[in-house]
């Protein structure tokens, strides 16, 4: 035993520094769900501050957009990693894309419904028969589950990003992200006390949102790289929360680069709300997908008929344990 131990030490001293220096950084791409904004501050900061590089990953961030579906990018090999809503990932997995979660960033749902007080809507039952603006499929899971549970019928209208139709009175309520569109409405001059809000996180439909995903194959081939990507991202978020002004600058720079509207107060609000839903009461981002959250999301998806098949927690989740 002693001899073997000595030998290991000698081996470690001789080989490790050499291997760390000589091995070239592994290249990888991370595709985001949407255009550059503070929702992704942690990844931008991690890249900018070298938190991926120092873990041996040369990560390129692929900006998202209206025409970018991360699951397609990953499936088709245009990117190794991607951020996705948990519900979207479960659905894709159910549909046969071999995605695994290597770390859950956002622990809480930021999805909400917003109505104008002046419209006479004060409680959920008032939504009966209302025209409600919604985005694509992955944002409809929670609302549809809610309406089914309440037994009310609503008129779903595909909504555009501008919220113009809602503002002009063409919709009774809209779905919004707390960190994004809710502030957009405020920036249109609506005061918070003029709006009625329904948070899904408070309606027993609290689905964790952004997580980092890759193909099972990628995980099997290089789990160290996957862990490096997650840990770099978590460090990025920690840094962003500790230095919000610097993080904002980084985000705004990315936005200008991507030529999207860059509004500082809007991004400041978004970063602050991201902190709320990522930490969810914890002192630091944990990156863990809790089994309870997974099972609740999966059960809702199955019982509402969004999917017919779903993976097991162990198959699906490869991230750190609690």
């Amino acid at each position: 035993m002693f001899r073997w131990g000595m030998l290991w030490i000698v081996f470690a001293v001789l080989v490790c520094p050499v291997s760390a220096r000589s091995e070239p950084p592994r290249r990888a791409r991370l595709v985001l769900q949407w255009y550059a904004q503070a929702q992704f501050a942690g990844y931008f900061v991690a890249q900018e501050k070298g938190f991926y590089t120092k873990r041996g990953v040369d990560l390129r961030i692929v900006p998202g957009g209206a025409d970018v579906l991360p699951s397609d990018y990953i499936d088709s090999g245009k990117a190794e990693f991607g951020t996705m809503f948990l519900s979207a990932a479960i659905e894709k997995r159910g549909a046969g894309v071999k995605l695994v979660n290597i770390g859950q960033i956002v622990q809480q749902s930021a999805l909400m419904l917003v109505a104008r007080k002046s419209s006479g809507i004060t409680g959920l039952p008032d939504l009966e028969g209302a025209r409600i603006g919604m985005w694509g499929r992955q944002f409809q899971v929670q609302p549809r589950a809610l309406f089914k549970r309440l037994g009310i019928k609503v008129d779903v209208v595909q909504q555009s990003p501008s919220f113009d139709l809602f503002m002009r009175g063409g919709l009774d309520a809209v779905s919004a992200m707390w960190y994004n569109e809710y502030h957009t409405l405020m920036s249109y001059g609506l005061d918070p006390d003029e709006m009625v809000t329904f948070f899904f996180s408070e309606l027993d439909l609290d689905f964790p949102e952004d997580g980092i995903y890759c193909l099972e194959k990628t995980w099997q081939n290089d789990p160290a790289m996957c862990r490096a990507v997650l840990e770099g991202s978590l460090e990025g978020w920690r840094y962003a929360f500790a230095h919000p002004d610097e993080a904002l600058e980084i985000v705004l720079k990315r936005m200008r680069k991507q030529k999207v509207r860059a509004n500082r107060s809007h991004q400041r609000w978004m970063l602050a709300r991201m902190k709320d839903i990522i930490l969810d009461g914890a002192p630091q981002p944990i990156g863990v997908l809790r089994r309870g959250d997974f099972e609740r999301t999966k059960a809702t998806l199955l019982s509402n008929g969004f999917i017919w098949a779903a993976p097991e927690y162990k198959q699906f989740y490869k991230g750190p344990t609690q």
Partner: protein, 648 residues
């Protein structure tokens, strides 16, 4: 305490008042002119905003008309791709302000095989290009320009946006829904659009001059900056995010008023990068946009501030001139007063020979100087008179004193007067008042057996009383020595006194003659206080009054004589009203009862002891208060022919 001169007080008061008035004028002038400028600029702002808004609306209205007429045309035209292509090209050729135009159809409504059908004509490198919108990545049914017109069922202007294809221009789209007859029903069939480039609008607005640093900005219906001198704001910020970022909550209120289509004029303090401003805003109702004109307060009020400075400087110069004048005038008024004061102080310390300064002014100070001069002369004369009068009075007083001494000198003062006589004992005293009075007493032997004694009191005071008293005393002695009875003596004396008495003076007299062998005492009384008879072993009693008048008034008066008998040891106490009317500090009189009571306690004491005891009692009563009348007392104790009483 330090004295403050009239000149200084006058100057300070006048100047302080002037300063207050001056400040008030400058302030009022500033406020009024400022308000005039502010209200003028409100009108300027309104005019400017209306002119700008009219220019914008004119262009936008023209675009609306074009799109509206296409939509109208599409309603019942036989639509073919050729027709649509021609329409698009004609519109762009004829309307240079329109950048592009699309006719977007509902899914499958133009061609049941096509989900998307939206021919789009646009300008590209000086020619007209066309394409067909709609794809899996561009589902135009959910774009604002399509969805808003469809869902709201009316023509709309979209929010401005950046053109992603072209030269990154700021665009805005006007969309009109159009309808077709389907199975006899008017059904929504799609949307006609006209895109315009807003660059012309931005440059037009940026050319509007508002002072040097003022500007105009244009907000979209949700407060997004469409035009602003700060390019970072355009399309990136709404007025609300800007208010939040810069921490100006008032700006959010303004923004809400603006997006609600109100017009207004208000002051904003400390706007970041601009400072204090006045903001005029008004809506562009067709597009729900809002135009605001920013007047920098500093520049707006520069003229007023300059005017106020000038007014203040002129005022200050006037104030300084006024100050010099006030100091000069008040000095001129008070200089002669100061000179007079110096002289007056010297006069006050007794130097009446000071020369009064010549003051020729014909005002109150001149009058004062003249009065002062007169006063000084009068004072000098008065003092000279006073000195003479005082010397005169001193001489008279000295003579009076001598007269008094002579008067007193004629009264017998040597006691015992008859040491060889043992049959009686007599004692008298006179306490002169401050003024010369007219009390008198006397005693003498008429013959060997008869001893006469008397007390009198002349009316009035002063030298006449003294003379009258001397005359009376002399007369009494002369008449009494003739051996008459007391009544005839008084009658004779009265007659003599009254004969030459033109000044109507009178005298009260009590005169008694005692037979020293027998003790028989004959007496007469001319209006004098009743004496007290102290009978040995009995209570003292008044000698009964005879009720006969005072002497010296009526020539023909006859006085009667009464007789009483004194036993050895008996005493007779005669006094003037100075005794019973002696006053203490509270002006209470010594009074008859007090006298009688005192005498009752004494018993048969020698004459001198009797008089001394009464004197002590009076002094104790008055407590040393000065008396206005002479106090005269005479006591006679009868001892009997052989001086029995004296020996016993």
């Amino acid at each position: 305490m330090k004295r403050t001169g009239i000149a200084v007080r006058l100057a300070v008061l006048i100047l302080a008042c002037s300063l207050v008035i001056l400040t008030g004028i400058v302030w009022y002038n500033y406020v009024v002119s400022r308000n005039i400028i502010i209200s003028q600029d409100e009108h300027t702002g309104a005019g400017l905003a209306q002119a700008t808004s009219a220019r914008i609306s004119k262009v936008l209205y023209a675009v609306q008309k074009v799109a509206d007429s296409i939509a109208y045309t599409l309603e019942d035209a036989e639509i073919s791709p050729k027709l649509i292509d021609d329409l698009g090209r004609r519109v762009l050729a004829g309307n240079p302000e329109i950048f592009g135009t699309a006719i977007a159809f509902e899914p499958y409504s133009f061609d049941p095989a096509r989900l998307y059908f939206a021919p789009y004509h646009y300008r590209s490198q000086n020619r007209i290009a066309s394409t067909n919108l709609g794809s899996r990545d561009y589902r135009y049914f959910h774009m604002d320009w399509y969805q808003l017109a469809k869902e709201l069922d009316k023509a709309i202007w979209t929010e401005p946006y950046y053109d992603e294809g072209g030269g990154h221009a700021l665009m805005c789209t006007y969309s009109v829904p159009f309808y077709r007859q389907v199975d006899g029903k008017r059904t929504f069939a799609g949307v006609v659009t006209a895109d315009i480039d807003l660059t012309w609008l931005q440059s037009m607005i940026s050319e509007v001059d508002v002072y040097d640093s003022g500007h105009v900005f244009l907000l979209s219906r949700y407060g997004t900056f469409i035009s602003s001198p700060n390019p970072d704001l355009i399309m990136n910020e709404t007025i609300f995010t800007w208010a939040e970022e810069r921490g100006v909550p008032e700006l959010r209120d303004v923004g809400r008023a603006m997006v609600q289509g109100k017009s207004g004029y208000r002051e904003l303090k400390d706007l970041p990068g601009v400072g204090d401003v006045f903001l005029y805003y008004m809506p562009l109702p067709a597009e729900n946009w809002s135009l605001a004109i920013v007047f920098p307060k500093d520049e707006m009020l520069a003229g007023v501030t300059h005017l106020s400075h000038t007014v203040a400087i002129i005022g200050l110069a006037g104030f300084l001139a006024l100050a010099a004048l006030v100091i000069f005038i008040s000095g001129g008024i008070t200089r002669p007063l100061r000179k007079l004061t110096v002289v007056a102080n010297r006069v006050a310390s007794g130097d009446l020979d000071q020369k009064v300064p010549e003051i020729r002014t014909r005002d109150e100070v001149g009058e004062l100087a003249t009065s002062f001069k007169t006063m000084k002369t009068s004072l000098k004369e008065y003092i000279a008179n006073l000195t003479t009068a005082t010397a005169e009075r001193e001489r008279i007083e000295s003579e009076l004193r001598i007269a008094r001494e002579i008067q007193m000198g004629i009264l017998p003062k040597l006691f015992p007067p008859f040491p060889e006589r043992s049959e009686f004992d007599v004692y008298a005293s006179i306490e002169p008042a401050k003024e010369v009075g007219g009390d008198l007493y006397d005693f003498f032997f008429v013959d060997d057996r008869h001893f006469c004694f008397l007390v009198g009191d002349v009316s009035g005071k002063g030298v006449p009383a003294a003379f009258f008293m001397a005359v009376t005393k002399t007369l009494l002695k002369v008449v009494a020595e003739r051996g008459l009875d007391p009544g005839p003596i008084l009658s004779k004396v009265n007659a003599d006194l009254a004969a030459e008495n033109e000044s109507c003076m009178f005298v009260t007299l009590f005169l008694a003659i005692v037979d020293i062998e027998t003790g028989e005492t004959r007496y007469a009384n001319a209006g004098h206080n009743p004496p007290v008879f102290l009978r040995k072993g009995s209570e003292p009693e008044w000698v009964p009054p005879l009720n006969e008048p005072v002497a010296g008034v009526m020539e023909d008066m006859e006085y009667s004589t009464k007789t009483m008998r004194m036993e050895p040891g008996d005493s007779l106490f005669i006094y003037t009203d100075g005794v019973t009317e002696a006053m203490d500090g509270d002006r209470n009189m010594y009074s008859d009862p007090r006298l009688l009571e005192l005498l009752g306690t004494l018993g048969a004491v020698p004459a001198q002891e009797l008089v001394t005891a009464v004197d002590v009692s009076i002094k104790a009563f008055t407590g040393g208060a000065e008396q206005s009348d002479d106090i005269t007392m005479l006591a006679m104790q009868f001892h009997g022919p052989l001086g029995t009483n004296k020996e016993s």
